[in-house]
């Protein structure tokens, strides 16, 4: 599903180039649940952003479903954001001024779906995540775990093939973290490919594969 060939990402600091990612070669198959780990500043978020097409590599090739992403136009990438990729953030990034319902509904608006479709889809997800009673609340009225639940609901409502999660449990207590991870595992079992970044060894075990990154290089890539 994802093939990264010799991906590089650097910043110009002064006259020098500082490499954040160098010589990254990774292949992710459909149905994988990949965990990326590594020290702070090693380039995990950068890599995830590149995979999520929020950021572009400075060199290398990125093949997504047999298509070369590095040649895509902005418009094409936006299409993929709408249809194929979902994001879960460490800080949830819910929109404060929208209710739970409206937050979850938003990707469907961008996809241009009709109102009845949107209503039934959002209702399904609310039901499934057991948060129907919270649909008219605003994010500030929810606990962290509940907010992340909404964040995941929003990420998957567009039925993405790939879910990217950058430290989804980073701001959560252990029990809420476990609940979130259970949910991710369940989504994975339903066929969604997941790539997560985490610092938590225990949560890494929810996946079937761990990639260790250090100083922009892939250190190890092991199946568990």
């Amino acid at each position: 599903m994802i093939i990264l060939k010799n991906i590089e990402r650097y910043y110009n600091t002064g006259s020098q180039k500082t490499w954040v990612l160098k010589n990254i070669n990774i292949q992710v198959n459909k149905g994988d649940f990949v965990t990326i780990m590594g020290p702070s500043g090693s380039g995990k978020s950068t890599l995830l952003n590149i995979i999520g097409m929020l950021d572009s590599p400075d060199a290398g090739e990125y093949i997504f479903n047999d298509e070369p992403v590095h040649t895509f136009s902005e418009k094409r990438r936006t299409e993929l954001h709408k249809h194929a990729i979902g994001f879960v953030f460490q800080a949830y990034h819910l929109i404060d001024e929208l209710t739970v319902y409206e937050n979850i509904e938003m990707p469907l608006l961008y996809k241009g779906e009709r109102k009845p479709d949107r209503q039934s889809r959002v209702a399904d997800i609310l039901d499934r995540f057991n948060i129907v009673g919270k649909k008219d609340l605003f994010p500030a009225q929810l606990s962290g775990g509940q907010q992340q639940l909404v964040g995941i609901a929003r990420a998957i409502i567009g039925r993405p093939k790939l879910l990217l999660a950058d430290e989804p449990t980073g701001n959560l207590h252990t029990s809420q973290g476990e609940m979130t991870m259970d949910l991710l595992r369940q989504l994975n079992s339903e066929g969604i490919t997941i790539i997560q970044v985490t610092h938590n060894e225990k949560f890494a075990e929810y996946g079937n594969r761990v990639i260790q990154i250090e100083d922009g290089f892939v250190r190890t890539d092991t199946n568990t």
Partner: protein, 804 residues
Amino acid sequence: MNTSNLKLIWRNLWKNANISAINIIGLSVSLAISALIALFLNFEGGFDKSNAAYGDMYRLVTTFKYPNSPERETALASPMMGSYLQRESGDIEAYLRVMTDIENFIGRANERETTIKKSLQVDTSFFTFFNYPLLFGDKKSVFDKPENIVIARQVSEALFGAENPVGKMFDYTFSLDAERDTTVHYMISGVLDDLPKNSHLQFDALTFLDDRQFEQQEMGNRWHGVNTNTYFRVRPSANADGKLAESFPKLLKKEMPNSDMVSLSLQPFSDIHLGSMALEYDHNNFQKSDRKYMKVLGLVAIFILLISSINFANLTTVLGMRRVQEVGVRKSLGATGANILGQFLGESMLMAMIGGGLAIVWVELLRKPFLSLVGKDVDMAYTPAMISWFIGAVILLGLLAGIYPAIQAARYSAVEAFKNSVTSLSVKRPFVQGLVVLQFVLSGMLIIGALVSHNQLKYMQNKDLGFNYAQVVEIDLGMGNGWKSTAIKKELAAVPGVMEASGSSASLGTLDGQNGLLVRNQETKQFENFPMATVRVAPNFFRLYDMKFVVGHAPTEESASKEMEFVVNQSFLEKVGLKGDPIGNEIMINGFEADKVGRIVGVIHDIHHNTLHHKIEPISFLASDFTPIISLKVNPANMQAVLKQFQAVWNEHIKDRPFEYKFVDERFAQLYESENRLGQILLVATILSILIACLGLLALSAFIIQQRTKEIGIRKVLGATTAGIVGLLSKDFLKLVILSMAFASPLAYFLMEKWLQDFAYHTNIAWWVFALTVAIGVSVAFVTVSFQGIKAALANPVNSLRSE
């Protein structure tokens, strides 16, 4: 835009309610002020355009170019010109002459009476030249008989109610000479409906302009004496190039003696209201205005609108920048740049539209105070054009204010947006800085403008004019009662409390016009012609007004009726070139009792007998009995009782006019009425602009300080003082304000220098004006910013650090 977006926009406004309110109120007030000014300018600029053919209508302007006299432009023309030029030039379709008949007289009919403010003599062509409808009467026959009179609707209603007055008599009684009264019986032949309020001709009655009244004058005087306003309607577009008047000199040369001493020009009809400030004898020009003041008003409107638009743009930017993180999320969810652009623009548009709606409410609330500020009662109707301009302006404002943050936000990639969420805004952002500077430059210019115009007004009001007019009451008997003036004056002088009674043929402060004065040259012994103002005064006029003589003395009491004794000013001596002893030098008045020779008995120091807009000019005073304007120096105690007695005397003698009096000091203050109004408008505009700019600054600083809460907490923990922190937070803003004042000063200096040049006597722009402006700007900005800063500095650092 979908409903979810609208909802979001609304909630965003609500969440930032304080800032949104500041934004919307500031915007709506300035939109309202600008709209009021625009409505007013629209009215003033639309004068006389209700005449369909106004583009081809002109008023004849006569410029005198007589030797020994400066050029003078007048709104009048010789009564010969209308028919002569129409006949000689093939391009003139119609002419109309208008002449002031009587002003301020009492007309009686139907056993009632009413005051006629102004009656005009007009050619019959009045009713074809204009298309003003008659309520009663027939346009074709209204002037069939010389005794016919057409009255205005409100006169008809005052005398006859709703009845048709055509065929009824209308009487006017006036004094024939010092002893006898006579009554003229007019016959009402028509009633004219109200003229549009924006017509420069306004009057209460019309009578027929009979050419026989000019026939006693000898031919040369008939060509050169200007008596009537003369209007032309030319062939369509015949004067499109503005060169029609160039053909006149050749035409005049054929019949008019000394035709090269006058030049004629055509003033566009729609230019009469705003473009006649330089014209003399312009008495049939209702509430004429100065285009210059309209420009100042327009500038004020633009300034206020700019200042509040900048506020709007700045606050929108600030609000937008705070939400870059949201933009990142949206982009990761598939929002396109266009989606984001639309959202941000939609937000600023909605805000602009709320502001626009509120502005209409303000306009209605502020209409009355505004009109009393500009001092006019005008029709400020919404025209379709004005409404579309307004809507256009609101949309444009929304677009302009939203476009910068919208483009910024649309351009951010999601990754950048996430990273920027913490440190998105500082006052150092050049766009925000630039706008703040521009805003304070405009405010600074307004402050300087208000100060300078205030200084000029004070200067004019306090300048020593060379005579003393305190406690003087002026009573105008009207020209027709001039011969009664000596007798009435005597009775008025006897009223207890009157210290001195004198009189003149014209009022100090507005002495203009000119007569031909023949002055004997001391060397050649020949009489030479010097056109200049000659005012008839009672001999004690100089004493009453405390004017100082250089040589000689006031005329003797007896001379007023017998000899011609002149008093002149110093400028007169210079102009005429009298180097030797001027006392006894002979003077005659051209065309007035031609055999009578008078002489100079005294020379006074130059006084400002005209407003300070004009340089002091040569003038001569002639002792006379004919002094219809009576000046009374009165002991201020018991003023009411004194005035009552004046009225009693008046009622006994004067039948044709209502009693009126003026305090000369108030009249002098009124000479600077337009400067006074301008000053007040500038003051209001300045205060408003500073308020709006400060509202913006308040919101901006609140935001920036909020972003630096953590920094402030850390600094406090490390030992910073409250003062130190307030200073730190204010510093950036104060630098901007000082920079703005540095820009504003030379710009305003340049503009105000130019403005002052219009006054022959004016103040210089003092250095302290700029110092004060900087002080005002800096202190107002400091108070505004430190208001927020102190709050932040006093907050417990533990709280601010924990909340991160």
